[in-house]
């Protein structure tokens, strides 16, 4: 198979994906296979420089595209800013803070290389979204409490509950103790990570050992992130599980079955 490949065929394949578009508004754009995750292709604008070269730019679209779901100011602060400057340096491109454009200048003979460099740079800039704080567990407990409050009246919910009548109760706080049906208490734990999964296993084992009467419910930030052995140990001692706060209907159904 490899012997049948030849460079002419490969070049034709690559070329088929590259098109030059002269728009009615006078703009000239280069179409390439580079695309954002939603399928929109990078607009790559070509303009002449005063020195007879070409300026290859994103026309400011990268930042606008990022702004759909991100605060673009954050890309110029802290660790994102450091990484952004690193990308700009490594890819040999420039950033114009007034126009919001990533660009580079080249001779017409070097246009293809310049277009690929800009395309790779835009891809790397877009991937800075993986650093979003919102993907971190910091707001998980707030979100969990808010969702519990949406289903259960406030007076039935006791946050950081210490179980009376057992030794060292303060060392084993329950995230949320909810007054359930038939005077049965529901101990609800939020599980944002592996450490909390392990800690909750220890707590539940202790309550069982102390013959505490309770039901339990475990709400994960993302159950798939918990290693299998930790999840197995927790499953053995815990009650109902909710895989994430997005499983809103399941959470409500299981909670109301025990509380309402």
């Amino acid at each position: 198979m490899l012997e049948m490949l030849d460079e002419k065929m490969l070049c034709a394949q690559f070329c088929a994906q590259i098109k030059l578009h002269r728009r009615d508004n006078g703009m000239v754009l280069l179409e390439t296979p580079f695309a954002y995750p939603d399928g929109d292709q990078y607009p790559i604008y070509l303009t002449e420089t005063g020195a007879g070269g070409l300026r290859v730019s994103d026309g400011g679209h990268t930042l606008m595209h990022l702004s759909y779901e991100n605060d673009v100011d954050k890309f110029f602060e802290g660790s994102r800013s450091i990484l952004l400057n690193q990308i700009i340096a490594e890819q040999g491109i420039s950033y114009d803070g007034d126009s919001g454009q990533f660009y580079l200048e080249c001779a017409p003979a070097n246009l293809s290389e310049a277009a690929f460099r800009l395309g790779q740079a835009i891809t790397r800039v877009y991937d800075l979204t993986f650093l979003n704080r919102s993907r971190v567990a910091s707001t998980f407990y707030d979100d969990l409490q808010e969702q519990i409050s949406a289903f259960v009246s406030v007076e039935k919910v006791h946050k950081n509950f210490a179980v009376a009548g057992i030794p060292n109760a303060d060392h084993y706080p329950v995230d949320f103790c909810i007054d359930g049906k038939n005077n049965q208490r529901l101990f609800l734990f939020g599980i944002p990570n592996r450490d909390k999964a392990r800690l909750t296993t220890i707590f539940l084992q202790y309550f069982i050992q102390q013959r505490v009467e309770f039901d339990s419910m475990l709400v994960f930030e993302n159950q798939e992130d918990i290693p299998r052995p930790d999840l197995a140990r927790l499953s053995n001692v815990g009650g109902d599980m909710i895989s994430s706060l997005n499983a809103e209907d399941d959470f409500r159904r299981k909670l109301l079955k025990r509380v309402a």
Partner: protein
Amino acid sequence: MNFDQLTDADIQTLIALPKRVTNPSVRWQEKPGHKQRNLKVDGGGYSFELYLRQSFHNTDDFSCGLKVIKPDGQPLTLVRYNGGGHVHGEIVFACHIHRATYQAIAAGKKPETHAEETNVYRTLDGALACLLEDAVISGLLHVAHDAPDLFD
């Protein structure tokens, strides 16, 4: 509604819920290369955000979209009405409408990957008028559809 496993019917339900903009007086903000306006929208017990974007560099490069805020606080774009400033697959520099689909979510792609070409608007204002109508959003005044293009 299980936001981890949204079906096409769930997505359509969210789009078709009657909604209202709660901060209609919010102003445009200038950002590098574009201006933007983010509006809060409530409806059916859910929170949404309506966002408008207009490039300073290319008048054809504009967007307005509707995101639902999931219970975990993360946004999910339900629809986005784009101008013709870029190519999307077979759609070459024409206005197009992105829409979240079960198929894209199940495949692990961006939910709003699917897009279809449209000629029902040509400007950001026109796109906004269509979006407000299609997603049953009230509370924004003075939004008008684009006049018919006499050359179409």
